[in-house]
Symmetry: C2
Subunit: 122 residues, 2 copies
Amino acid sequence: MTKPALILFGHGARDPQWAHPLQRVQLAVQARDPARSVSLAFLEFMEPTLSACVLSLAEQGVTEARIVPMFMAQSGHLKRDLPLLIEQAQQQCPGLRLFLTEAIGESPDVIAAMASHVLSLE
Amino acid sequence: MTKPALILFGHGARDPQWAHPLQRVQLAVQARDPARSVSLAFLEFMEPTLSACVLSLAEQGVTEARIVPMFMAQSGHLKRDLPLLIEQAQQQCPGLRLFLTEAIGESPDVIAAMASHVLSLE
């Protein structure tokens, strides 16, 4: 069975540089799992939107995708805005099932890596 | 020589839950370096502000602090707002030297941990 596609969902910003860490995560994931579909999508300021990303995946025949919020924490964006966007995308592409995971900053391993990074600063 | 104090600087949000990952990073850092001063400060919605945090550290006799932006990437907040806040805090507390580091999401180790987390989702 094919693994679900991954959508790294970021806030977005006017400055193109803002997307670099997300692009690096995308590349790192693809390097370790080359067969996996890994896309970026953004809440605002950057393209593609979640809707456009989901549509593109559906057109490629993807039937399942996991949305990973690239946010420090469970913000209002994730609790209110994102579920609505997912509902809209789901209606637009009923053949592609979408699953939402929690903010990546909530992951214990990411928290441990952040703590190590902070301690490494001298 | 005492190591510089650490200030984990987050965006902040109306929802108190938002601060949990930052609090967990703070606790993890303190668990590994109990003698270290590790504070949280926020851009908006949450307390303390950077100004209040720096004032409190100065009153405790701290002479050096490193500000770690708990942001996914180098946003406009970090490029424009934060340097102004640091300048104001620096003028308010000239005896406490402040150093700014880059967004924690730019750290290669944090990026690697985020990629591992994404790949661990099944």
